[in-house]
Amino acid sequence: MQTYRNIFVNLKRYSFLLEQLISRDFKVKYKRSVLGVLWSLLNPILMMCVMAIVFTNVFRFSTPGVNYLTYLLTGLTYFNYFSEASNLSMSSVVANFSLINKIYIPKYIFPLSKCLFVGINFLLTLIPLYAVIILTGTGLNMYHLVLPFSFLFLFMFTLGISLILSTIAVFLRDMFYIYGIVIQILTYMTPIMYDINMLDSRLQILLKLNPLYHIVTFARTIILYHEMPSIRAFIICAGSGIVSLLIGMLVFKKNQDKFIYYV
């Protein structure tokens, strides 16, 4: 209990640092490009266009009953958050070794700041997502009010994984290469561009072990099918978020004092 209170005391104390780290990332990311922050909006749209052209024309994918563009962009938006945030977080502790080695800063602040930074980017990509929802005629509904829960679940799940990855990366630098492959596999294991019902049932069971599938489906239920996600969907998504976060915190906390030896 004491340690959990400490986390909140520290979070308050270091909130200005957190804010500065996030705004640093923003400035550095956009400073030297002409279009700047517009890229956050353009990037998912352009990616969606490329994938839509490839998958509808070459592979003849379709999603019966719902608009394919919206289907694709929903998946992309959620998955990109996970892959970008976890990737940046993984290198965040290693990249800040020069600081960790000289001054006491709670180390979890580095992966946390990356997850929040990409989170703000994620909120920006909701603008093109909603533009597509409206322009394709998919339309809005009142269940969209529940959608922020999926952001929260996605954030918790990603932060948990990020804490684990950033810990491993300190001890095993090979993780950077390994995770590149893992993300590639996950891209195909998460039904972003295809419908899970296209696959045979055994493969479906395997894919359903992936929490990202459930979080994306949670969002799609609302956006595409205009339905309230089931209680079961709520429990699975919240559960995977909480479990991932708890394991991540535990792993990170247990190992953080050893980081300094691997500088």
Binding site: R13, F16, L17, R24, R32, I100, N101, I103, Y104, Y261
Partner: protein, 251 residues
């Protein structure tokens, strides 16, 4: 009021073999060599061994010892960067470690932005930096370059900026690890004067230097460390003299 810093029987172990065990290539080489495994204890290196001391409020404590004696490691343990393998450290007050300056700069940001970033890393609040901003800029003499990315700065300018940010605090405990030689001659004198005024202003200071002269004129008490062990501690004159003699006899 009790002691400001209490270091109780602190030991710090490093495993020098860490680097080696990690490569697959070496693993296979060793597999075929059938080399007798080095015992783990051989690779253990004790950077600090059973160090204990206390520092009272307002005391200025100097640390002397040859390169690699463990002085910097000790300061890192005191400032909380490293957890000691054995023993513990009690601190009563906020610490400003000035161990190495400018570690928190982002080269792509302007001087203006870096003042806020680096300040937040040192644990300052926004209000505090707002208040001290003018003073920092004035002290660093970088008024004209405020909106220039730090990557375009010379190393002396970076050091000046870093020094100016780091010395704005009124910490209860100040940790100084040889940073006085910063910038050009004019700035060196200015920074030394600043350091002296901070040190003489009643803060508790831990001071590491190879310059016996500056230790002699600043410190109330000196601790001599060699190979991770405390050789001597006490009055400045006595310890400095003994340390000096041992260095001379080595020549």
């Amino acid at each position: 009021m009790g002691s400001m810093i209490k270091v109780n029987d602190v030991s710090m172990k490093f495993n020098l073999g860490i680097e080696k065990n990690f490569s697959l290539k070496l693993f296979f080489i060793n597999l075929f060599k059938h080399k007798k495994k080095e015992s783990k204890a051989d690779k253990d290196f004790w950077a600090l061994k059973n160090i204990s001391f206390t520092v009272e409020p307002g005391e200025v404590v100097g640390f002397v010892g040859s390169n690699g004696a463990g002085k910097s490691t000790l300061l890192k343990v005191v400032s909380g960067v490293m957890k000691p393998t054995k023993g513990n450290v009690e601190i009563n007050g906020n610490i400003c470690p000035m161990i190495e300056l400018g570690a928190g700069f982002d080269m792509d940001l302007t001087a203006h932005e870096n003042i806020y970033l680096n300040g937040s890393i040192l644990g300052y609040s926004r209000a505090f930096i707002d208040e001290k901003f003018e003073e920092i800029v004035k002290f660093s003499e970088l008024q004209e370059f405020l909106e220039v990315p730090v990557r375009n700065f010379s190393s002396g300018m970076v050091a000046r900026l870093a020094f100016s940010i780091a010395t704005q605090v009124d910490p209860e405990i100040l940790i100084v690890d040889e940073i006085l030689s910063v910038g050009d001659l004019n700035f060196q004198q200015k920074s030394e004067a600043k350091m002296r005024s901070m040190i003489s202003g009643g803060t508790t200071v831990l001071y590491v230097s190879h310059s016996i002269e500056s230790i002699k004129c600043l410190c109330d008490k000196v601790i001599w460390i060699e190979r991770g062990q405390m050789i001597m501690s006490g009055e400045t004159e006595k310890v400095c003299e003994a340390y000096y003699q041992s260095q001379v006899s080595k020549l």
